[in-house]
Structure formats: C-alpha cells, structure tokens
C-alpha cells in the first residue's frame, strides 16, 4: 500500500522536456505558477492549459499517471473549490442556507479555482516526473547560489534536501518491510478504532526510527571517510550546461508572463 505513493517519482525518458536543464524547468514552472495567479478569464486559462497539455504530450508521460498523482489531493482541491462558491459577495444569488450564500459569480470563481489548483499541481508534477531528484536539487542549489553572499548555507541545504529525497524510497521500502514483518506476527494496521490503529503504528514507527538513526550514522561515517567537508571548493562531476533549448524556453516564459499580464490588464 505504501508503494502507491508517487510523490516526486521520476519517470525515466529521453524527451525534450527530460533533457531540459533543471534550472530552466524550475524557472519556467515558477513563472507558470505566477501566470496562473495573474490569469483572470478563460482566454488566459485556456492558453495556460494548452501549454500544459502540450508539455505533457511532449514528455510522453501518460495522462493517467499524472492524474493518479492528483488522487490524494482530491479532497483539498474540492474543499477549496466549494469554499470559493460561498465566499463571494457579488453576482446573482442562486441559493442560500444558514450563513452561506451561493452566487453565480462565486460558482464561476470556484470553477477557475479548481482549474488553477489542478494546473498548478500538474505543472509541478511534470517537473518532478521528468527530472531526477538529484538534478532537481543541483538546479536549485545553482539557482540559489547568489544567496551565499548573504551567508545562507545554500550548499548545506541542498545536500540535506538531496539526502532526504534520496532516502524517501529507501524509507518507504523499509517501512513496507517492517510492516510486513509485523503483519506476519498478526499485527493489524487496517481495521479497528482510530485509537487502536494509532497504537498499532508503534511497532512500525519504533523500528523505523531506530533504523533511520542507524542509516544516518552510517551515511555520516561514509561521507567523512570520503573526506566530505561541506561545499567549500567542491567541484562537480556533471556540470549543468544551458543549451539552446533552455534559452528558447526561458525566453518563452518571459513572453508568456508578459502576455498573461497584458491580457489581465485588458480584463481578458
């Protein structure tokens, strides 16, 4: 059951999107998200949706896999949309009960909100699905490099992040293993009252903590044995290089943002 978690899972491939520099992808998705929040009407939403769909098509990631990742977030998305129906004073009143009043403008706003959140999540998914976690943290480190001037430990943060990302699958696998071992001894994680289930997690969490500490200790020793001493003077085996495609995508992102802002200005 734990294997169903697809958060941050990488789908191997060799498409245009896979080959883009991680920095480009991070910047583009940031711009895309800003554009999503600037967008006001169906014209801008439509063009943004079109861009997303084209990108997904290029990446060759099956739409079903993308949508599967949305499943755990369905409740949050629907909740946000429903709240938006009622928190809007304008427009023609449709119906009301107690303190809630639904208006047609609210309904439309909720629809946009639903679209906005879904597109936001799918666009970030596309980045994590097409970029290895390592490339992602490398890209992030390079993007945040200027902050080093302000004494922000950028390298340390990105190292922590890559270790965390690296160990998520390991920990999931380990949790799965321990869970199975306890199930084999008759532990029941799936039925019973909430309090019982919380208690049933103890046999899972304790060994998991113990082994995380053990792993952390081993990793620290292994890193020290290879003379790791932080970011100072550290070079890279694989240097990230911007290609022509990256330039095009970045220029396009600037154009996109400008276009969406202009559209919003004209109320479209």
């Amino acid at each position: 059951m734990l294997k169903d978690v697809t958060l941050g899972q990488y789908f191997p491939g060799d498409t245009l999107i896979h080959r883009l520099d991680p920095r480009t992808k991070i910047l583009f998705v940031t711009v895309y998200i800003i554009a999503l929040f600037v967008a006001k009407t169906w014209v801008s939403y439509g063009s943004l949706l079109l861009i997303l769909l084209i990108s997904i098509a290029i990446s060759k990631i099956p739409l079903a896999s993308m949508l599967r990742g949305l499943k755990p977030l369905t409740i949050i998305i629907i909740f946000t949309a429903v709240i938006n129906i009622f928190y809007n004073g304008e427009g023609r009143q449709l119906f009301s009960f107690w303190i809630f009043t639904a208006t047609d403008a609210g309904l439309i706003k909720a629809g946009y909100m639903l679209l906005r959140i879904t597109m936001l999540i799918l666009s970030t998914f596309l980045v994590t699905y097409t970029t290895t976690p390592m490339a992602l943290t490398d890209g992030l480190e390079l993007l945040l490099n200027p902050l080093k001037k302000l004494k922000v430990p950028v390298h340390e943060f990105s190292m922590m992040m890559s270790i965390a990302l690296r160990f998520i699958p390991t920990l999931i696998e380990e949790a799965d293993k321990i869970m199975n071992a306890q199930k084999a001894r008759g532990a029941d994680f799936e039925t019973g009252k909430l309090t019982d289930r919380a208690k049933a997690l103890l046999p899972l969490l304790i060994p998991l903590f113990v082994s995380s500490f053990r792993r952390a200790d081993e990793l620290a020793t292994a890193m020290e044995a290879r003379c790791y001493h932080g970011g100072e003077g550290r070079t890279r085996m694989k240097k990230l290089r911007l290609a022509a495609a990256d330039g095009i995508v970045m220029s396009f992102s600037v154009f996109l943002l400008a276009a969406i802002i202009t559209l919003a200005r004209f109320g479209l």
Partner: protein
C-alpha cells in the same frame, strides 16, 4: 449430533491426507501498468505436505521472497491461488489474518522488526495478537525462547542492547511463539558467523523434531540447505526450475551453474574426482557421503 461428529471426523481425515499448502498457477506482477512493471513469479504450481523440510534456493531476484510472502497472505496473487488445507488463503480477510498464525514467516534480517521495550514483550507480540491468555502466552514465550536458545536471564533487557546474533534469535522466537504449523525462514543465517549459522540451523531442526512442523528454508547458501533439507526447490527468474531431493538436484550441477547458483564444495570435489576416473557417486552433497564413498572404494580396491 452424532452425524455431525462423524462428518467432522471424515473431513478431518480428508484434511490429513490433503497437502498442507498448495499453489495453483500463482503469478505475481509488481507495479502493474507502470513503466516499472515486472513479473516476480510466474505460474508456480507446488504442493508442500505437512512435516516436509523444503529448501528454497535461487539467485537474488529469482522470486523466492515474493513466493513465500504469498504463503501467508501478505501478498495477494495477481492471478492464481494459494490454498491452505484446501482453502483459498485470500478467500476472506479473517482467514487471511488467521493464516498468519499458522504459517509463520521469519523475514530476512528479522532483527530490524524488534520494537518492544524488552525481549519478553517482543516475543509475546505474536501470541498477544492471537488474543491468548496471559498464562498461555507466558508458556509459549518460554517455550519459543527455549527452542532458539534465548536464556530467560535476558528477558528483561531491551532488544536493542543485544548482539546481532541474539537479536536474530529473539526475532525468530517471536514467530515460533505462535506455534506455526508451517515455519518459513527467509535467509535466516545471512550475515552471521559460521558458529551462529550452525546454531540457528540446529534450532530450526530441533523445533521441527519437537513439533512436526513443516519447514521452508529460503537460502542461497547451498551448503546450509543441502545438509538439512529433504526436498529442494530451485527458483529461476520467477519459475520453478527444479524440484526434488538434494541428490536429484545436485546431480544436475551443470544446470545449476547455468542458473547462476553454486553447488556445494563437496559436490564439486566429487565431480572432479569422477572426471579423474574415480568412481564416486555423482550426487554427493555432504562431507560424510563422500567420505563413506571414498572409504568404500578404498576398501574395495585394497582391503586392509
């Protein structure tokens, strides 16, 4: 009433003759319909009778671990069936829960599953889940500890203070305490020193003699398995490549090597001797067998 009783006895008799565990066209595919899809085991048909001592051998990734996790219902088959005493293990949730106490599974590196504050409580985890009385639980904990050689003096210690070998014994005791009819051990000797290996294998044999339980031992160490198992099942890429007595299996040395498995050193020596024209039997897999065979030859050639 009388009729009912006789009916019961009849079915009881039937069950005795029935195989304890049987799989029918068992297939398991991991991560179906994703880019990571892989067939772990494919169309496994096997019957294991009560009291057998089966050695399961195979290369890493040959599907043996996946296979044993089906036997107690931890994994549900993608297709096919697992039957315990003729009943489908996955027929109901309750039965699948029940089966875990009848088919005890000791995982690889079982010491990583220990969690209780002391050794006694950890061994008692299984029996407690069976909702047994305190008295019965206590009896089982002491019995299980006895089988694997965990002294009662360490009952109050935290399992995390113990040495690696002791931790493993405690973990195995935790499964034995459920008094399973079938005991499955996945690489129980991995990472132990030779002395620890021999001790654990001895304990397993003792448990079997005392209770008549079926033992399924998963291993890639031929030496271990050859010495104590009565039947060997060889897995190769998710299917059963061989199934027979150790003598049968080890006489097919070439095939075993092709699968990427080693043969016991003794068998290797016997094969070399045969190549040199010494007429020892082909399927020696214990030092004693080869020893006897050579003595017999010597006796035959020049009685002294």
């Amino acid at each position: 009433m009388l009729l009912k009783t006789s009916g019961f006895e009849l079915s009881g008799e039937k069950e005795l003759k029935m195989s304890t565990i049987r799989t029918e066209a068992l297939t398991h595919i991991y991560s179906t319909s994703t880019p990571f899809e892989s067939v772990a085991i494919n169309n496994i048909n096997i019957e294991i009778d009560q009291g057998e001592f089966v050695g399961l051998i195979g290369h890493t990734g040959s599907g043996k671990s996946t296979f044993v996790q089906h036997l107690n219902g931890l994994l549900a088959p993608t297709s096919g069936k697992v039957c315990f005493d003729g009943r489908d293990v996955n027929s109901s949730k309750a039965f699948r829960h029940d089966i875990r106490f009848k088919v005890g599974l000791v995982f690889q590196y079982p010491e990583y599953q220990l969690f209780e504050e002391n050794v006694y409580k950890d061994i008692a985890f299984g029996p407690r889940n069976m909702k047994l009385s305190t008295v019965e639980t206590d009896e089982r904990v002491r019995e299980a500890a006895g089988f694997v050689g965990v002294p009662e003096s360490i009952f109050d210690k935290s399992p995390f203070e113990l040495s690696g070998g002791q931790k493993r014994r405690v973990a195995i005791a935790g499964v034995i305490a459920m008094r399973p009819k079938i005991l499955i051990l996945d690489e129980p000797t991995a990472g132990l020193d030779p002395e620890g290996c021999a001790a654990i294998l001895n304990n397993i044999c003792r448990y079997r003699e005392a209770t008549g339980a079926t033992i399924i031992l998963v291993s890639h160490s031929m030496e271990d398995v050859a010495r104590i198992a009565e039947r060997l099942v060889v897995f190769d890429r998710g299917t059963i490549a061989m199934d027979g007595t150790p003598a049968d299996v080890f006489s097919r040395a070439e095939e075993l090597r092709r699968i990427g498995l080693d043969i016991p050193a003794v068998t290797d020596i016997a094969l070399h001797l045969r190549e040199l024209g010494v007429d020892v039997p082909e399927c020696c897999y214990c030092v004693e067998q080869l020893h006897d065979a050579i003595l017999k030859l010597k006796g035959g050639a020049a009685p002294c």
